[in-house]
Symmetry: C2
Subunit: 310 residues, 2 copies
């Protein structure tokens, strides 16, 4: 049973109530807690030593990453983060300076985005550090962007460049909060997600939630320099395009708008965010699955995100 | 460096913003997210295999306890819980039925209290299960009860009976949500906390936050049957009164009201909650520290919660 199958089983019959606008299955839960003009976003995300960072990772970068991941989920809803709680599980003998460094990295990023850290707790995990961060945010009522709104004919966009994040970027990425809010204010964004599992996996989350398929133009996918460099490191390396589809931890925005908005969006984006690439990588189609188009024709992407070209 | 010293260091300079009504250092954080009549409560709490439960604990009870602990913190603010996120960190080979059992226990308790479970995540922790639950709640604006409002002269009350929780009750306790809301509606409660560390430790949290001291009447402290039974199990056992002060995980309410309200409160409580004991155990005094009074005189409680009687 993999992570997604387990989650599907565990979330089959969760208790709910009238405050829930969107429950499990999107980047954040969306709640109506009674404010006239705002809904509340609620999210939790954990990083674990040996999986998301190592003992050699500078502690400030661990703390930064732990918070940035959740901020990226708030961005994916076009929200504004408000407050965070930090749970840190530590071995019984821990290095106080290392833990203080984790907080320094977290506090600095929180300060940049106006996020209050309002508590949390320390607990014991003898074998490795685990940090779980809970986030609260807000979004203008009706302006939240879910995964489920993509429509056949939509243009699919992605920010930045994809693949090879583990070389460095997974510790330094910028949550795309300002970009997402600008998008939601100026365009009718139909569906949005942040790229944590990789383009192939996260696009599939949008497609499943929206009950549609996608055609991706291979030459339009922005492949990062790190992925290209790594692809040249011998025949065992992932081809750069496959890395862009499957590496994960890009934390860029993937979203769809009506195709009639596509050119206007690209123009406005260049004016507003000249330093951040925005790429139109394909379109939403009726049906399901992901079709990759290149000069040689079309190829269905398999369930694991890997593409097999003849 | 113990847990409290570490927390004091880490929370020295946390980022804040204008939404924060009460940050780190109370049972929940209190936030103003724009609702006219309500404030938002925000809390996170984790349980770890080998510390808060074992592999032999029935999974339903693990899930129940994981959620009940946070609900008890919402109660301590006189709040109403709304929604929860569940982070569960699992070894790579886990028993699906065991994990489903944890969710069954959690879902059942959430249903009892009208709490929606709106997502969370699964992640990896190879050596042991760790469950972290984030909770959102609400409280009528201005009706939140902090730890910092105790005043010299206040009467100190505790619900239920204390000590010996590890024998059974730590898995089955009822979060005192209805009782706390009734208290806040009908009486001017000055300070409140839920008993997780034990009466001695948690009373000290109220005293430190309120900059006052307390006198406790030994004969008034409600000692549980489990603590009394255990005290008889040989000379190495904790005396029952010490167990009531220090065992922890009682999850009863400890609170203070003006002494002029004390008799009225005891009468009203008996009518409203005839099955749950309410005890007046002493009074708040100027100064600091905890004085225990018995027939032999007064004794200062030491910093570790243990009392040494001559």
């Amino acid at each position: 049973m993999n992570e997604f199958e387990l989650i599907a089983r565990l979330t089959r019959a969760l208790p709910t109530n009238e405050s829930v606008v969107a429950g499990a299955g999107d980047d954040c839960a969306v709640l109506d807690l009674g404010a006239l003009d705002k809904l509340v976003l609620f999210k939790t995300d954990a990083v674990v030593e040996g999986f998301h960072f190592t003992q050699e990772t500078p502690p400030e970068k661990i703390g930064r990453k732990a918070l940035a991941r959740g901020l990226s989920d708030i961005a994916a809803m076009a929200g504004t983060p408000t407050a965070a709680l930090v749970t840190i599980a530590l071995p019984e003998k821990f290095d106080v300076e290392f833990v203080a460094g984790i907080y320094d990295g977290m506090n600095a990023l929180a300060g940049e985005h106006g996020v209050a850290i309002v508590g949390g707790e320390t607990t014991t995990n003898p074998e490795r550090i685990l940090i779980s961060i809970s986030l609260l945010g807000t979004v203008a009522r009706g302006k939240q962007i879910l995964r489920s709104g993509a429509k056949a004919g939509d243009a699919i966009f992605v920010t930045g460049e994809l693949g090879g994040s583990l070389a460095e970027r997974h510790l330094d990425f910028e949550p795309r909060l300002a970009e997402a809010r600008w998008l939601a204010e100026h365009f009718a964004v139909h569906a949005m997600i942040d790229l944590s599992d990789g383009l192939a996996g996260d696009l599939r989350h949008i497609l499943n939630a929206s009950r549609v398929g996608a055609e991706i133009l291979k030459s339009s996918v922005p492949v990062s320099r790190a992925a290209k460099l790594r692809a040249r490191q011998g025949s065992a390396a992932k081809p750069a395009f496959v890395a862009a589809l499957t590496d994960g931890e890009d934390f860029e925005l993937l979203f769809t708008v009506a195709s009639t908005d596509a050119v206007k969006l690209l123009d406005a984006w260049k004016q507003k965010f000249p330093k951040l690439k925005l790429s139109c990588i394909g379109k939403i189609v009726a049906g399901d699955g992901i079709l990759i188009r290149d000069k040689g024709g079309s190829h269905q992407l398999n369930a694991h995100g890997y593409v097999h070209f003849a």
